[in-house]
Symmetry: C2
Amino acid sequence: MKSIKFAVLLLAVLAVLVLSCNQQPSATNTGSDPLPSWNDGTSKQAIIDFVKNSIDSTSKGFVPVADRIACFDNDGTLWTEKPLPFQLFFVIDRIKALAPQHPEWKTQQPYKGILEGDLKSALAGGEKALFEMLMTTHAGMTTDEFDKTVKDWMATATHPKTGKHYNEMVYQPMLELLNYLRANGYKTFIVSGGGIDFMRVWVEQAYGIPPYQVVGSSLKTKYDTTRTPPVFIKLAEFNFNDDKLGKPVGIHQHIGKRPVFTAGNSDGDYAMLQYTSTGSGPHFGMIVHHTDLMREYAYDRDDKLARLNNGLNDAKKYGWIIVDMKTDWKKIYSFDEKTESDVTKE
Amino acid sequence: MKSIKFAVLLLAVLAVLVLSCNQQPSATNTGSDPLPSWNDGTSKQAIIDFVKNSIDSTSKGFVPVADRIACFDNDGTLWTEKPLPFQLFFVIDRIKALAPQHPEWKTQQPYKGILEGDLKSALAGGEKALFEMLMTTHAGMTTDEFDKTVKDWMATATHPKTGKHYNEMVYQPMLELLNYLRANGYKTFIVSGGGIDFMRVWVEQAYGIPPYQVVGSSLKTKYDTTRTPPVFIKLAEFNFNDDKLGKPVGIHQHIGKRPVFTAGNSDGDYAMLQYTSTGSGPHFGMIVHHTDLMREYAYDRDDKLARLNNGLNDAKKYGWIIVDMKTDWKKIYSFDEKTESDVTKE
């Protein structure tokens, strides 16, 4: 009897091992909701239908594993971008931190405006002023030095409205979407107008996206062999602007394959959504629509920094899903309490 | 008793399932030789030692999965590059194919030289001539058109010495090394001076390396929305030269992480080998030394296109393994018959 009991015990252990052994990267966990922070509705259903079809080799919507490329904008799509894009807060904070070494900034724009908390006067100098601030805070140092600065800033700086660290302000429903796609054999990429070096420091931890799957804007970099060991120097010269028409170019350059799934939130993402949606095979485009003034921010056609106008106009034409943050998402952030819409649903 | 027999049977089935359930991407197949085309010796042993340590969390040489980045040069490291780099054969063949539409080429260098089979006179114009031939054959078309041209050429053109298609002339021992690294959790990247668009057409099939893990030289590309659907146009302007000091820059730009394993064969790879070998953690650098005049080609310090001089001089300093193709490799290509060294070993 002892040996039978042992066999049964062993059986149970082996059964657990087999059940936990997920050999199929394309297998979906059909038993539980893969998108628990999404309210039931057309957006959630469209995502699930697309993904399910894409892994079903008998479906018209089937996508071979090698083609399962998913691209995500970052600012406003994976994390908040208001009241200012977070990388701009980094610029402002860096200027304040560097100010003691630059007494001349007290009377010199755009620095004067930043130091006095008058962003409007700082930005009055237009692109030239912005370029100068960018280069002051992003160039002239090694990549290691820059990485450390971003890391330290991310660990200490907080958002003016929520008081949370910026990398905590990632959208819980989008984290679930990234995981859901990856669990079904998709490679998830960031394709952002933000700085590639700025993002790579923290996105692996925040989103599970490794540095080689990040496409972004960049400065030219020099491999400087005059130091031992050699280092990379960030030069005060633009290398690539990964925004608008630059996004498909960035995708071509970095990924070399047309995505089948793309998510964005502003007209800066229009071209990459269009590129995705003009492929000959199955494809999915979605736009995160900022409609939730209570839990996040509400902006679209009239926004100056993240205008969403053409995307809304042409969504029907290209079959893009408009995700309504207010009604489609139970939670915005992982730290959100249960919300009204959440309670209503239960 | 029936239920006991059933339990035992189920036990057996489950045991088989568990044993076949390979959850660990870092597990090595210890039972068989992972590098069968490599002769036993210091090179093979050094590779195996490094990889085994890198997946052993109790070893000083352990490398976390996220850091298992391996970079490979292409020309002369993964496939043959003689008598000319194969992309140059593509240029020559394209000029011949396009000549009927350009009667003026009969009297115009560098085309005249190419059409008359006089490469020396064609290249007499130096970099300017080479640039002109490159742009004539690589720019002014859509990326889809270019891809098709490369694909068709690869399927038809043959090597002047072996008579094989160029993508058959990949090194069998290196294919095994790529597979061995991937089986142990490494991401394998190509980092080549060759054209990124040229390589992406065929490397996935040849090496199992997806397009987003290819780093190479490129022309600027325009996303042209005046066509429906929009297309990419290859412009006659250099975007990036992924050679020499450009290789670490390409790695930083594209991968965003220092490799721990790098293989090259010429001084064009020196900087990326050095970048790999000046990391603070475990690292491995290897140089494929072309020593086999009978089975392939023999060249190093005096070669004009693929000189290997500094690499040989500094191999000891950086701990780079010099792989001797003649003695270290049983086979060069998969189509090779058993060779003398192979027979000697048995």
